[in-house]
Symmetry: C2
């Protein structure tokens, strides 16, 4: 029996990770391989689709909580509670995402993460002891003050007056009152999932790189940059903890800043953390062959992304299985592929095709190339498929 | 050492078979495979490119002979003489091809193969004892009377008057005078290379299927059909040999009709015959892995085509090596692939691409997919490439 691990990311714009997994699995079965055991493990990197993936894998319904959007308007958001694990899985974009405020002109200085904080507060009150917070897709650059505020933190100016928990206030915060924070927030284990390595500040930071797409003018970028730096200094003094040197602290408008300093939240690779949640390491240890995939593979795929995590994990087991990536577009050289640790990568394209056709036909394309890749992988092994 | 046989057809419109072979070989070497022995064997199916392939493989210069085009105008045509083998390799399209007469309105009733006959006559006088005649691409539907005429045959009507050796005469031929035919033509071994299986006559025959592209109106198709059938009947009476039941007799305007009956010419699969000439069977017996390829692989690829011949030959050796087809477009299902006996097929496309881009980038595309396919094939074998 050949154990074939199928663990793709979603194909953004065309297939969910579960759909991609089904298409690849169908191709493996279609390959003529007699005795295949298919280990299905759709993955995500902490971005869009992570929540649905977890809910499906754990077979839990999505919770619905009444909260607010980045501009404070009423909004109902979804999250997942995994009772066996006492874990809440929350996507920041569900309550604080950019799509929620695109009906209005963007106001980056006012957009905050309090809505996400209210979800976390609800989760803690429901018994969550671990918080898995997927960063990415946010409308905000608030350093996490909105979340902390929803949990009871008060941000004060030099006069001891409370400031609104918005980006506009960042540079004026002179003190933080944590006396009213719910105790469960301190006791919980926080994991912040990122798929980028941008630092908090600087030219690659939260304001400079992601500010403009959230509506920040150059002047506003400078204000946000100064505000984040100022708050980082204050938190370092107060707590001795400073997220500004951590890779990934620039994700989701610097949300890790307050959460790391105040609650000890760890910044972790999204694919790695979600992989642990869904049991990827155990499946990898049993795999003879691994298929992963994503919409677009380029030489820069790396960091917390699914494909590079799968490849790294495969390399870490005793007898590393070959890892083949199936992608909509394969834009890397053989040398880059080897740098990623991949055995091979194949596009789902079967000839000249428009991008639209490629996306519309992603499932049959994936199935077909998976069948061909399976037959190639096993052609010279003891489990050779029938001719 | 892994012996990798690289034996593609040309990629029509973009790469010669030699260029395709070089690109695939470069990919195999790029794959990280430590000890590969690459067996290069560019192929052809008897169509365009066959002559150049043979001349290159045998390292002989192309001969040039002054002859005539399908309308009798002066024309210099190329052919190859392989002295060790006392063999002439001749493409019918070189002297009797459709492109030679596309400067004028097409006159299918007058277009003949005498120009090719003059090449053969020259080859016989130079010492050729074997004639390899590649059919395909012809402007003619003359049943081979032009060739026979150039070698000395005379076609007579009911009155014993000589007829011009053109399609217009076919239905009027009542007798054939072979007394002046050069004796070497009878002594030679003739091989007619085809990549189609169309019969001489009928709805799939030379007139009905190929006549219109040579300019035949419906009335002319009927005249040609009747002429070929009439000549077939006469030849059966005269020689006891009748090509009209042979698959492939419909190639090149029924050129096999006279040549089979008068000179005992055999109709053979183009890829198989050329493969024998270039030593493919010996290389196949040594191959651990085989790469073939063509511009467009579909479920109907078969007959005398390169890819299906390579697959059949691989299946015939003691330990059949896997055969992977690399193609511009892969238009067949996994089931059809297995029907063709292929291990796998991969497109050179790496994502959404126009046909023009796919063709312009055929060489790098082929190199890249060859590297990936090599790594896949060997991933689970003892000769696993370096990660």
């Amino acid at each position: 029996v050949v154990a074939v691990l199928v663990c793709p990311d979603s194909f953004k714009g065309s297939l969910t990770a579960a759909q991609a997994t089904a298409a690849i699995a169908a191709g493996v079965l279609e390959s003529g391989l007699d005795r295949a055991e298919i280990l299905r493990c759709p993955l995500a990197d902490g971005g869009e689709g992570s929540l649905g993936l977890i809910a499906e894998r754990w077979d839990v319904p999505l919770e619905q909580t009444k909260t607010e959007d980045p501009l404070g308007r009423p909004h109902t958001a979804r999250w997942a509670f995994l009772p066996d694990d006492e874990r809440a899985v929350i996507e920041l974009a569900e309550a604080s995402g950019l799509p929620l405020v695109q009906d209005l002109p963007l106001r980056v200085l006012d957009a905050h993460t309090r809505g996400t904080g209210r979800l976390i507060s609800d989760a803690l009150s429901r018994g969550a002891r671990s918080i898995t917070l997927c960063l990415g897709g946010s409308a905000t650059v608030d350093g996490g003050v909105g979340i902390a505020h929803a949990l009871g933190a008060r941000f004060l100016d030099g006069e001891g007056e409370e400031l609104p928990p918005t980006p506009r206030s960042l540079g004026e915060i002179a003190a933080i009152d944590l006396s009213r924070v719910v105790p469960e927030a301190f006791e919980a284990e926080w994991s912040l999932l990122v798929d980028v390595t941008n630092p908090l500040t600087g030219p690659q930071g939260a304001a400079a790189v992601f500010g403009p797409q959230k509506g920040a003018s150059p002047e506003e970028v400078a204000l946000l940059e100064a505000g984040l730096a100022s708050l980082a200094g204050l938190l370092r003094e107060l707590t001795g903890r400073d997220a500004s040197g951590l890779p990934g602290a620039g994700a989701a408008g610097g949300a890790a800043l307050v959460l790391h300093a105040v609650f000890g939240a760890e910044i972790v690779g999204g694919a790695e953390h979600l992989g642990l949640l869904v049991g990827l390491p155990e499946l990898m240890a049993r795999a003879d062959v691994v298929f992963t995939g994503e919409a677009r593979l380029d030489g820069q795929s790396g960091g917390g992304k699914v494909v590079s995590h799968v490849s790294d994990l495969a390399a870490s087991v005793a007898e590393p299985p070959p890892v083949v990536c199936l992608a909509g577009e394969v834009l890397c050289t053989p040398a880059e592929l080897r740098g990623l640790g991949l055995t091979a990568a194949f596009s789902i394209a079967n000839g000249a095709q428009t991008l639209e056709a490629l996306m519309n036909e992603a499932a049959p394309g994936l199935r077909s190339v998976a069948a061909n890749a399976t037959r190639s992988l096993l052609a010279l092994s003891g489990d050779r498929p029938k001719r």
